[in-house]
Symmetry: C2
Subunit: 446 residues, 2 copies
């Protein structure tokens, strides 16, 4: 008997999500969430309830129920049980009538920022300073739903191709890229340590173990610039793969990933893109691949930019090349390849045909670099020679070099900046909008 | 015509994995990988090839092919094309005959540690010091395949239940748990910063946004002890969920996760467990849940341990209680609940019926705590009171407290130590074996 009663209570409490009420027309349902909007008109309260899924409207009638809302304001956490009625003007085409309301957590003080407006009228600093509450805004949430789709697709796509996830350390004794420059120092039991600026060494080691590996983890750059596209702590979607025939295979894989990602977003995220006024990019056929030197010729010819021979593209040039690619090559993405050896880290493989150029690439998207990648040297003696040429001491890289001494296949990989990719997918103005709790030169909180 | 030829080359190069050769009996296949074992007998070489999937044997006959192996030793990276022949004694019941071998990366120097033995005869320090090569040993690889299954199951299980992944910062200005004690200091542009010891504050903030969130990321503990079960940098599988009815729901969820995980391991990982001589735990029915005080009574009665009233279990007690649970309750897992308030962080919710006890729990498994969890306070005023009682200053926690000011549902969550769970699943002696590149008080490399 007791069991029957308990089951009955549980059933009556079963929670429906706001987005599901239109499947329950005529039935009684229970919603839980935050009071997103509250309008009191005479003896009636109109509540827009927000839960993790979306919004739904409820009409609170009668003094008994309305008394519970006395002195309370938005963001109060409530449970509302009511009958679902068709209502074209309400979200999801339905609303709740004859409601009983239960206060879970009362809020008496108005939230300092109106998060229930479509456009929150706050500047970037206010938005970020008040993250714990501004993230509750539906548009803000949409950004991170898309970000989660990107990460999940990265993992699932690679798992489906025989890659395995690795966890590589972020507290390190030195860096491959800059040897300590632009790295954050950590006091590690009185020893000198740094925060890793990339998993490069470790993911190459792991190619010797599992051939194809990936990692989705924070990396740290102690760069002092404050721009709209740099964070000092960001999530890097990293992969590294062995037994490649050539460096084009790495770009092929990223292209396939991006196609698979856009398909996923079309399936799962249309609503989020709509909310943010952004368009899911189309990738038709191959993403164009041009050499840096070709790109520089285009920049001179089309934009009058005299940059031929420069080791890299300036931000302005990246914008121009993307504009060019979209207009003339019908692509929002473009691979720029063959960066000069002197601009790339020592482990980058040179092009045998043109040794001053490397088998490396950047992927540009909507005006910004979103990926760096390339093929790595895999022969021990080649490392020794390259290090000697650069005045580096192989003894400083003993752990790393040991893997090449004992057999490594041709390999290469990429690193994708998650927040930057999210920003460009959603046409956000600033990368900080694509990080839940961004860290920059001035910001360590919230 | 050119297209036909290119296709033919690609087809002939198509790579087969070692574990798949038994499906290709009588056919010619190409394997790629490392020479795991090499035995030269007269004019014949017996090669055991290792690739990411496993091992396969190839017989290299004839002086032309054997000459290529002259001066070379194990770990040489090769491509071998040959005909698959049934051979009961070989791995996967088949081996390659009439082989052509191509040297991809030659190795002339013997690897200092014999990684091709079933049991590498090295001590823990040597194992870890030489990680870049010892990880190539098949038993070592098996550990991290299991680890990857655990993480993937955690994510997939939670995604299936409406959770969303969050990325919370690891560079923070203070800590919730100890307020800076036992945290690593970071020099953050001359500002005082720390490495996060848990995502606690952020995951609670995110309950206010998405209700149910998870994160799989490194956390940092600057504890000076050097034990077989602590790492200073470890992956925490964290989740936090809102709108719970009671704290038991959190344990219910973990129980379901663990059941789902053991099912997955039975499907995907039997071979890895066999290789490591470990057994996948069985979870029949509910995992027992007992109060700390009950556990202490059992310890006194069964083991003569006088610990009633102690705020926590000692490592010895954890072992004893697990032994007891296995013998008497038929479970390798046991939840210990109701730790005293003074032993738990300020955000832990007290039991209304017994205010000195909290709605918190640890999960013990095979003698060790693998999870800490509990229900959190969700009412603003309750935080203020608790902080006052503990002599804490609410102003130091302004960001955090703002979420409770503006409505939070009842919520709670858990943190699972990934390496520790891996260690106990596989009966490893030391947690360092369950970390690719472990960090401890003495170790910052490789």
């Amino acid at each position: 008997m007791a069991k029957v009663i308990i089951t009955a209570i549980i059933l009556s409490m079963k929670r429906t999500l706001t987005t599901e009420i239109n499947k329950e027309i005529g039935k009684e349902v229970t919603l839980s969430g935050w009071i997103h909007k509250l309008r009191k008109l005479g003896g009636i309260s109109f509540v827009v309830l927000r839960d993790r899924a979306g919004l739904a409207q409820a009409v609170i009638d009668g003094s008994k129920e309305n008394d519970k809302l006395k002195d309370l304001t938005t963001e109060t956490v409530v449970r509302i049980t009511g009958k679902v009625v068709k209502e074209e003007r309400a979200p999801h085409g339905a609303e709740l009538h004859d409601c009983k309301i239960e206060i879970i957590s009362p809020v008496k003080e108005d939230i300092p920022i109106a998060i229930n407006k479509k456009e929150m009228s706050v500047n970037l600093d206010t938005l970020i300073d008040n993250r714990p509450i501004t993230l509750r805004n539906p548009k803000q949430r949409a950004i991170f739903r898309v970000q989660s789709e990107i990460t999940n697709e990265f993992r699932e796509f690679l798992e489906g191709r025989g890659f395995i996830e690795v966890n590589t350390p972020k507290t390190v004794s030195s860096g491959l890229e800059t040897g300590g420059a632009e790295m954050f120092k950590v006091d590690y039991f009185k020893k000198k340590a740094y925060l890793a600026q990339s998993p490069q060494m470790y993911k190459q080691i792991m190619v010797g173990v599992f051939e194809k590996v990936y990692e989705t983890a924070y990396v740290y750059r102690a760069e002092k610039h404050s721009t709209s596209r740099h964070l000092n702590e960001y999530v890097s979607l990293d992969l590294e793969m062995g037994f490649i025939e050539n460096y084009e295979e790495i770009m092929d894989l990223e292209e396939e990933f991006l196609k698979s990602l856009t398909e996923r977003l079309k399936k799962n995220s249309v609503e989020n893109f709509e909310m943010l006024g952004a368009e899911i990019p189309q990738i038709k056929g191959k993403i164009p691949r041009i050499k840096l030197s070709e790109a520089q010729k285009i920049l001179e010819k089309e934009y009058g930019e005299k940059c031929l021979g420069e080791p890299d593209l300036e931000p302005k040039h990246e914008k121009q090349i993307c504009e060019y690619a979209q207009k003339n090559l019908g692509s929002e993405f473009i691979f720029i390849t063959h960066y000069p050896s002197k601009k790339r880290p020592f482990y980058t493989m040179s092009d045998l045909k043109e040794p001053k150029e490397t088998l490396s690439f950047d992927l540009l998207f909507r005006g910004v670099e979103v990926t760096t990648g390339g093929q790595r040297i895999h022969i021990y003696e080649d490392y020794l020679k390259k290090m000697k040429d650069r005045g580096m001491n192989p003894e400083d890289f003993e752990d790393y070099l040991s893997i090449f001494k004992y057999g490594m296949p041709p390999h290469g990989g990429i690193g994708i900046g998650l927040e930057r990719l999210t920003m460009k997918f959603l046409n956000l103005d600033n990368i900080r909008e694509a990080s839940l709790f961004p860290r920059d030169i001035n910001r360590l909180r919230p």
